[in-house]
């Protein structure tokens, strides 16, 4: 066992709060799980030894500029190195919305059951997060509530920090809410950030995870959703890759007639790595799921995708699709992708597709023949490739804020 893990475990054994019974379960599992390496299927393309090598401190007491999303009137919850920042956060909530700090979670009677309800046990760092996350928040949306302003959870990380946060969200029946998880901070830091969403009957959740930590950051986390009958989820993930970025998205269809959609864009540059694991679990009959993953990889970056559709026995009448398209922009970039189907019911229609290629030379030629420079043509075509997904975002303010950011990232990308 590595010394990092030994320290982490002994640190976790000190934690004593209302979540202790749940933490103990995960800690026991953690002790029996070997440190992941190249032979561990879930970490096949993602080396994690950087975590052992780096030195981290608990938290820094610094003032951090929070990136604003223009024209977005949101309810902000700000965490700096995992510590809640009251000044930067909104403190008046609309009717039907209840927000509690994780440390005071014993006051929510459902929170103990909600903890670890949708997040699977298989994730190594998920177990670490279970044992160590003492900060975060619990969000409860009352039945039939319509929360118009999006809830924005900003997590900012400073140099050398290590933090573990957990977000629990319960969306009551027929309620409607939109949640934005925004992660920022490019310095060397290590954070695990997991969120669990319990979406009630006929409720609607609009979700964004803006995993835009770059460069030296080490960020591991995931958003996990459970959909009750007729619930609806649209989730958008933007990934910017860093020294080590790993996001797990698990979507569980626990009730019939639920609809889920996941759109993912990731843009990688330099020596960055972004590893996305998505999993759709259709445990009951009648459901629709759709995922679109678009990825542009430049320079020496490594894009990893492991998508999974799992249709359980007797979960008939499922329509599931997965589409993964990758653009390779340089000689040294790499894409590793694995779209899996695991199907135990016969009356279903499942499809997945993967393509990996460079920008179409014919399209390039067309633009160049009309006087567009090669570089501009490349930007136009690759931006078009991902803009399709940006256009599908239900929240216009977020889409408008993202476009220049994405374009900026292209402009700075190492294209051949």
């Amino acid at each position: 066992m590595s010394s990092w893990l030994a320290n982490t475990i002994s640190e976790a054994e000190q934690v004593n709060d209302w979540l202790s019974p749940k933490r103990a379960e995960s800690l026991a599992l953690l002790k029996n799980t070997p440190w992941p390496n190249r032979k561990t299927e879930a970490w096949r393309y993602t080396p994690i030894n950087v975590i052992e090598r780096a030195r981290f401190s608990a938290a820094n007491d610094t003032d951090v500029q929070i990136t604003a999303i223009e024209n977005l009137d949101s309810i902000d919850l700000v965490f700096i190195d995992g510590i809640f920042n009251l000044q930067a956060s909104t403190n008046d909530f609309p009717e039907g919305l209840f927000i509690t700090q994780l440390s005071e979670g014993q006051s929510c009677e459902w929170a103990l059951d909600g903890f670890k309800k949708t997040k699977p046990n298989k994730h190594f760092f998920g177990l670490i997060n279970d044992a160590l996350a003492t900060s975060g928040c619990i969000i409860d949306v009352a039945a039939n509530a319509r929360i118009e302003r999006p809830i924005r959870i900003v997590q900012s990380f400073t140099s050398g920090s290590q933090s573990h946060t957990r977000i629990l969200v319960r969306v009551g029946p027929s309620a409607k809410v939109s949640v934005v998880e925004q992660l920022q901070g490019d310095e060397l830091c290590f954070n695990t950030s997991f969120a669990e969403y319990d979406i009630g009957e006929a409720a609607t959740l609009e979700h964004y995870r803006l995993a835009m930590q770059c460069q030296a950051a080490i960020s591991i986390g995931g958003s996990h959703f459970s959909l009750a009958q007729s619930a609806k989820l649209t989730s958008n993930l933007i990934g910017f890759g860093s020294q080590l970025s790993r996001v797990d998205m698990d979507i569980i269809h626990a009730g019939e007639n639920a609809i889920s959609k996941l759109n993912v864009i990731y843009l990688l540059d330099g020596k960055e790595l972004f590893d996305l694991h998505s999993s759709f679990e259709h445990t009951v009959a009648n459901g629709t799921s759709d995922q679109n993953i678009r990825c542009i990889v430049a320079d020496r970056a490594n894009a990893v995708f492991n998508g999974r559709i799992h249709i359980h026995r007797d979960a008939q009448k499922i329509l599931a699709s997965m589409n993964n398209r990758n653009l390779l922009m340089s000689e040294d970039a790499q894409v590793n992708t694995k779209p899996e189907l695991e199907i135990y019911a016969d009356d279903v229609r499942c499809a997945h597709g993967v393509t990996i290629a460079e920008i179409d030379e014919q399209a390039m030629f067309y633009l160049q023949s009309r006087g567009v420079s090669r570089i501009d043509a490349q930007v136009i075509l690759s931006f078009g490739f991902i803009n399709e997904l940006v256009d599908q975002m239900p929240n216009v303010a977020i889409a408008d804020w993202l476009r220049p950011q994405l374009r900026n990232r292209f402009a700075n990308m190492e294209i051949r």
Partner: protein, 478 residues
């Protein structure tokens, strides 16, 4: 409908008889001594024995792989007998006339004509019964063209320079657990050498049969196609119906030199076990070929048998402009489990590969496609197209897809598609409206589903494969 399904599931395995042939079998167990004895029986040179012992030492250190989507009771490798030969084979027959008539009858029963009538079909056959190659037809005729087609044990003695150069060059002794075991204990198999610029005048074929109880079959096939040559090779197999699981761990190596072409077709029909998963063959096979410049390897397989199949025929596209193809139909029913697919490793420039995989699951079986497409750094302008479709018949079975796609070169283009569905009601309705009974309709739809693969098979095999599917599917309409 369910009655029909049950009936089909209880259908007997047609090749499940036991041939009462006196045989000489080693007592179960595996140690260095057994390997020395196998080697001595085969009158092998020292280098061959050393090679086997090295593989055995490596195997002992290897763990049994568990990553495949299959569940089976782990084998006790000490309870298997590693050598079994029909007794009358001790002094080998020189021609078919000397072959034990009982043996010939066995093959007759299986519908494999060994005798001269085969000349009309134009196929040369090598027959492997348990651990030894029984007979190879048309050796002399092939020799006129310089083609060598013989049991590998003969080749080790007669053509050591070729065997020594190529054996283990594609599947090494430490490749994987079952390949290492095969390297240590393989008993026979076919050896083929096609000289430069020669087009093999007839199709070559090997038929494998496991007959003895508690034996494992470990055959090794080595095919070398020298520059500019062409060969089409067929492989078939059956085993008696037994309650115990028997192990079949074969290795096939293909070496395809510049501008050569090898077409390798398999119809696999090992005993699949009964409907509860009792008995049947564990088919753990390593098949791989290497393509040099502008060479082409084409794998076609129809998998209908075996309790557990673990098989990934692969191509290493090392030479520029080389081509790899993989066409597969895998049908599982009863309690069968199949984890099969291919690996296409693109290393050279402008290499191309096509993967067409059709999985059909019925009963309570599980059928997985597992494949890897790797575009190396040097695979400039390489292309891959993969299509894997699964068809589910009945609601107790499973169909899975685990494709790995790795690209290291921006000019390489990879496309992968997969779909899973059942026989659609619309298709059924259309067929029934035109007067076909449901069984015929399903058979027709499935045949259509597999058409892309069947058309790759040599004619005789395509007919056999089509029939095999029809029999296996009979009544599986749910």
């Amino acid at each position: 409908m369910t009655d029909q399904l049950d009936e089909a599931l209880q259908r007997e395995y047609e090749a499940g008889f036991v041939s009462d042939i006196e045989s000489r079998t080693f007592e179960p167990g595996l140690d260095e001594d057994v390997i020395r004895r196998i080697s001595a029986m085969k009158e092998e040179p020292q280098w061959m024995l050393d090679w086997r012992l090295k593989a055995f030492a490596l195997w002992q250190k290897m763990p049994e792989p568990d990553w495949a989507h299959i569940q089976y009771e782990k084998m006790d490798f000490q309870s298997i007998s590693y050598y079994s030969a029909p007794k009358s084979m001790d002094d080998r027959p020189k021609s078919l006339d000397e072959v034990d008539p009982e043996l010939l009858a066995t093959y007759e029963k299986l519908g494999i004509p060994l005798i001269e009538q085969q000349q009309l079909a134009g196929i040369a056959v090598d027959v492997v019964f348990d651990s030894v190659s029984v007979v190879t037809t048309f050796r002399e005729k092939l020799k006129e063209q310089g083609v060598i087609f013989c049991p590998i044990s003969d080749a080790i003695r007669e053509h050591p320079e070729l065997v020594q150069k190529y054996l283990g060059s594609v599947v090494s002794q430490k490749d994987n657990f079952f390949a290492a075991l095969n390297c240590a204990v393989f008993t026979d198999g076919s050896f083929v050498y096609i000289p430069k610029g020669t087009r093999c005048p007839m199709e070559l074929s090997t038929y494998f049969r496991i007959n003895e109880l508690n034996t494992g079959q470990f055959e090794r096939t080595l095919i070398i196609a020298d520059e500019g040559s062409h060969v089409s090779y067929l492989e078939g197999c059956t085993a008696p119906q037994r309650d115990e699981n028997q192990l079949h761990a074969a290795v096939v190596e293909l070496i395809c030199l510049d501008n050569a072409e090898i077409k390798y077709s398999t119809v696999q029909n090992w005993y699949p076990g009964d409907e509860n998963g009792k008995g049947g063959i564990y088919n753990f096979v390593t098949k791989r070929g290497i393509c040099h410049d502008s060479a082409k390897i084409s794998w076609t397989q129809v998998e209908t048998g075996s309790a557990v199949t673990w098989k990934y025929p692969s191509c290493i596209l090392k030479g520029d402009n080389s081509i790899g193809e993989f066409y597969s139909v895998a049908l599982t029913r009863g309690a069968q489990q199949a984890d099969t697919g291919t690996k296409m490793i693109h290393l050279g420039k402008n290499t191309r590969s096509t993967i067409i995989s059709k999985g059909i699951s019925a009963g309570k079986s599980n059928n997985s496609y597992r494949g890897l497409v790797h575009m190396g750094k040097g695979a400039k302008g390489a292309r891959n197209f993969t299509q894997c479709d699964s068809l589910l018949i009945g609601d107790k079975c499973g169909a899975h897809t685990f494709p790995y796609v790795e690209s290291r070169n921006p000019t390489a283009i990879v496309e992968h598609e997969a779909t899973t569905s059942k026989v659609s009601d619309d298709q059924m309705f259309l067929c029934r409206q035109r007067g076909l009974d449901p069984e015929k309709a399903v058979s027709m739809i499935v045949n259509g589903f597999c058409k892309e693969v069947f058309k790759e098979l040599p004619m005789e095999f395509a007919v056999e494969a089509g029939k095999l599917l029809e029999i296996s599917l009979e009544g599986s309409v749910g």
